[in-house]
């Protein structure tokens, strides 16, 4: 394309810096929100899997039990009786340091003598020297240099930690190898010790948290042998499928956040469309002049598109940078939510992947080009003498109105049909909301025209010409005012929608708290539920509390995990008094449900459980204990 032609267009943008900034801002904000949300969600998921992989090494499966933990005899039986060698016992719990600054450590008990092919990266770097010391020297641990530096500790220093069995002095014998920044994050606040020490420290003698297993994907028969050798109350989980199951768990959460990101991109696209349309309309005389001297439609189209491409590249680059900064701030909030509702994340670091950056680039450039297609086409559609007349555009827009109404009504109709069909499908529900938004956005110029006509007629009788001017201007320039009002409509409707949703959620939580919290005092019994005497001690404490003067009644709650099907299911066991029962709200049968609940082998399920597992009243659920 002619360089002078390009310069003519470029100089126009330089002469209108505010419009240029507005267009770039639209792209930047849209891309930033999408990239920030995407990076944050992916980082949270990656963090979880990286932590799991760093600690489990190359394990393909994991044997777990319900909250009671595994009997270590199972490990011996699997190795000796069934001849399964690629096994690694694990103790996995938490300990709080008494030495200031107080912090919580993940205490990980391993078998240092496990086969090298089975070891995780840090174990391979470590060699066997420290492993032997962990076994032979009592209460010895490995920790990261970074964590030790924060706590002012050196090799051979003592670290006092508190567990269910009391305070223990641990001696640091060496640092965990940190080959990169990512590894140092993974190993932060982690104490590695040998399995026997961990059992003693945590009061879990004879117990294991899990047994890691290494079985190649092509050894299906070996896997089946292992499955057959396991007792019924033990679960063999595939670690390869773990990421997939985590993604399934956070599916709706991810979709909702992504939808919010896309919505911001949509508003950004409207902003780009508006700005680019405005830039094209402002240049109608320029375009007309160019066309009259022999510049073709294709050249005008290329000019507008290449201009938009440059804006898109600048806006997207800025958007990705802003998205990374925004992602850093969002990471703690989103990982907090994931921690609270889905799975535990030990630390939070934004992980940048080329795929996500490419997604941001594609979205930014794609959305900009999509938004600018209509103005670019509009610029080239007119013949030179029409391009010099603004009224031609408006009459063109008015001719389009009937088609726009039809498309808008079709969108709204499709949206309602999808809402009816979507059922529990989050993606379909979101598509229907987007269709509804688009439908109403398309109707906005028509409604604006009707309103302005009504206003004009009403004002016409009582007001001056000056008062009627703004109404006329809105009508006369509906190609721009209509889009601007539609953009504002989307932004306001989303804002009101979110406000109502959050308000309703708060109200529900408030009502739930008011009905649920019926007791005067709550006693939280901290500690590891796998500890051998924990259950006896807690029961004794309950009896003592009940005997105290002034204690009218007690209710107790135990949170645990039981195997149901091929997953661990959260189970809450209640011993409730009459008053506590008032805190329960039942979806279908009302309070009459307590009569059925008092019978043997009956359970209540939460609404989300029923929703995810398609459970109905009267269904049976097999729980292994």
């Amino acid at each position: 394309m002619s360089s002078i032609l390009k310069k003519a267009s470029r100089n126009f943008l330089y002469r209108h810096p505010w419009q240029l900034c507005l267009a770039i801002l639209g792209i930047t904000l849209g891309v930033a929100v999408v990239v920030a949300i995407d990076l944050t969600l992916e980082s949270s998921l990656q963090t979880f899997t990286q932590t799991a992989q760093a600690l489990s090494g190359k394990a393909s499966h994991r044997i777990v039990a319900s909250d009671g933990g595994l009997d270590e005899k199972l490990y011996t039986a699997l190795r000796v009786e069934h001849g399964i060698q690629n096994l690694s016992p694990v103790i996995n719990s938490y300990a709080v340091s008494v030495t200031p600054p107080e912090s919580t450590f993940k205490l990980y008990g391993i078998d240092p003598m496990t086969e090298s092919s089975f070891q995780s990266a840090w174990q391979q770097q470590e060699g066997t020297g420290n492993g032997l010391r962990l076994i032979s020297e009592p209460n010895t641990v490995l920790m990261s240099r970074q964590t030790a530096k924060k706590m002012g500790l050196q090799i051979d220093d003592q670290l006092t930690v508190m567990t269910d069995t009391g305070a223990h002095d641990l001696r640091i014998i060496d640092w965990l190898p940190e080959d990169d920044a990512g590894a140092s994050e993974l190993l932060e606040n982690l104490l590695i010790t040998d399995i026997a020490t961990a059992q003693e420290l945590l009061g879990l003698v004879g117990k294991l948290s899990a047994i890691d297993v290494l079985i190649a994907p092509d050894q299906g028969a070996k896997l089946q042998d292992l499955r057959n050798a396991l007792p019924a109350d033990v679960l063999l989980m595939s670690l390869d499928n773990q990421v997939e199951s985590l993604q399934q768990m956070t599916h709706a959460f991810t979709i909702n956040l992504n939808a919010m990101g896309l919505l911001s991109l949509l508003v950004g696209m409207f902003l780009i469309y508006n700005t680019m349309t405005f830039l094209v309309i402002q240049r109608r005389a320029l375009i007309g002049s160019l066309r009259s001297i022999g510049v073709t439609r294709q050249q005008i189209f290329q000019l507008i598109i290449s201009e938009a491409l440059v804006l898109a590249i600048i806006g997207t680059a800025l958007g990705i940078l802003l998205g990374i900064i925004l992602g850093q701030s969002l990471l703690h909030i989103i990982s907090g939510t994931i921690n609270a509702f889905f799975f535990r994340i030990e630390y939070s670091t934004l992980i940048l992947s080329p795929l996500q950056i490419a997604k941001g680039i594609l979205l930014g450039i794609g959305a900009t080009l999509l938004a600018v297609l209509a103005p670019a086409w509009e610029a080239t559609r007119q013949s030179p003498q029409h391009a010099l007349l603004r009224s031609q555009l408006e009459s063109g827009v008015r001719r389009l109105m009937r088609s726009v109404i039809m498309v808008a009504l079709l969108f709204i109709l499709c949206s309602f049909m999808l809402i009816l069909l979507s059922g529990t499908n989050v993606s379909l529900s979101l598509i229907s909301i987007f269709l509804l938004l688009f439908g109403f956005a398309l109707l906005t110029p028509v409604v604006t025209l009707l309103l302005m006509t009504f206003l004009e007629r009403t004002l016409g009788r009582f007001s001056s010409i000056v008062a009627r001017l703004p109404v006329r201007m809105v009508k006369a320039e509906i190609s721009r005012t209509g889009i601007a009002i539609a953009t504002l409509m989307i932004a306001v409707s989303v804002s009101i929608g979110m406000d109502i949703m959050i308000g309703s959620f708060r109200l529900t939580v408030s009502e739930w708290l008011q009905t649920s919290l019926q007791a005067d005092l709550y006693v939280n019994l901290a500690g590891n539920t796998q500890a051998s005497n924990k259950s006896t001690m807690d029961r004794r404490l309950k009896t003592n509390l009940a005997g105290l003067e002034g204690v009218e009644m007690l209710s107790s709650v135990l949170h645990t995990q039981l195997i149901s099907g091929q997953t661990l299911t959260k189970v809450t066991v209640f011993e409730l008094n009459e008053k506590s029962r008032q805190g329960f709200v039942f979806k279908q049968q009302g309070n009459a449900v307590w009569d059925s609940f008092s019978q043997k082998n009956t359970i209540l399920v939460t609404e989300p459980y029923a929703y995810h597992h398609h459970t109905k009243i009267g269904d049976k659920i097999l729980l292994r204990t």
Binding site: S2, I4, L5, S9, F12, G288, R291, S292, G294
Partner: protein, 231 residues
């Protein structure tokens, strides 16, 4: 005096659809213009002078009839072909100058050349020479909005001539200028076009230009009438 035909209009009619009704601009226009001829079109506002220029340049399409230029009927060309035809064969001078405000005077003149082929030093010399003839040699790096109306119209004339088109179309070229400047511009346009041996069709209200034209036509009551013929 003139031998070769520059263009020919045959049974040319134009009407617009407005509010569902057909508005006839003119009908059955026939005209043959020779190379190097200076034609003036007179007529009241809305008589169809600008429409006729738009049709000759291929900007607009007639409702019926033909326009022959160099044995090509431009009415049968596609929009893209008509744009290319305009690029090579037509020079346009507008009442409102229509210079590209974001380009300097020099760039405004180089643009029609660059649309045809990459610019070389010969083109730049050509621009400088033409601007010197127009007594605007010192304004090459100036943007059009810094020029007076008369200067802008002189640049517009230079732009219409720079790529040596066959036909120059001027639509009210003095409409925005005062009488004295208008006369100077007309004189300049006449001289440059005649020196280059090009055909000039000028639509105007001004009767002062009649004396310089070879033939004068008027569009009255939707038909083309010969007013004067000095040939």
């Amino acid at each position: 005096m003139f031998n070769k035909t520059a263009f020919e209009l045959s049974q040319l009619s134009k009407h617009y659809q407005e509010s569902g009704q057909q508005q006839l601009i003119f009908e059955h226009l026939n005209l043959s213009v020779a190379v190097g001829e200076f034609i003036v079109l007179l007529g009241r506002s809305g008589s169809g002078k600008s429409t006729l220029l738009n049709l000759i340049s291929g900007i607009d399409q007639p409702s019926s009839g033909d326009i022959w230029v160099n044995e090509t009927n431009i009415c049968t060309l596609s929009e893209h072909q008509r744009t290319l035809f305009r690029r090579h064969h037509i020079g346009f001078v507008f009442q409102a100058y229509n210079l590209i405000s974001t380009l300097t005077v020099e760039e405004n003149l180089l643009l029609p050349l660059e649309l045809i082929k990459p610019i070389d030093e010969y083109d730049r010399d050509k621009v400088r020479d033409l601007m010197a003839q127009l007594r605007l040699a010192d304004r090459l790096d100036t943007y059009p909005d810094r020029l007076s109306g008369g200067e802008q119209q002189r640049v517009a004339i230079a732009r219409a001539l720079i790529h040596s088109p066959d036909i120059i179309l001027a639509d009210e070229p003095t409409g925005n200028l005062d009488l004295e400047t208008g006369e100077q511009v007309l004189e300049l346009l006449d001289k440059l076009v005649r020196d280059a041996g090009k055909t000039l069709i000028m639509a105007t209200h001004s009767h002062e230009v009649i004396g310089q034209a070879d033939r004068v036509f008027a569009i009255n009551n939707k038909v083309l009438q010969l007013v004067t013929d000095t040939l």
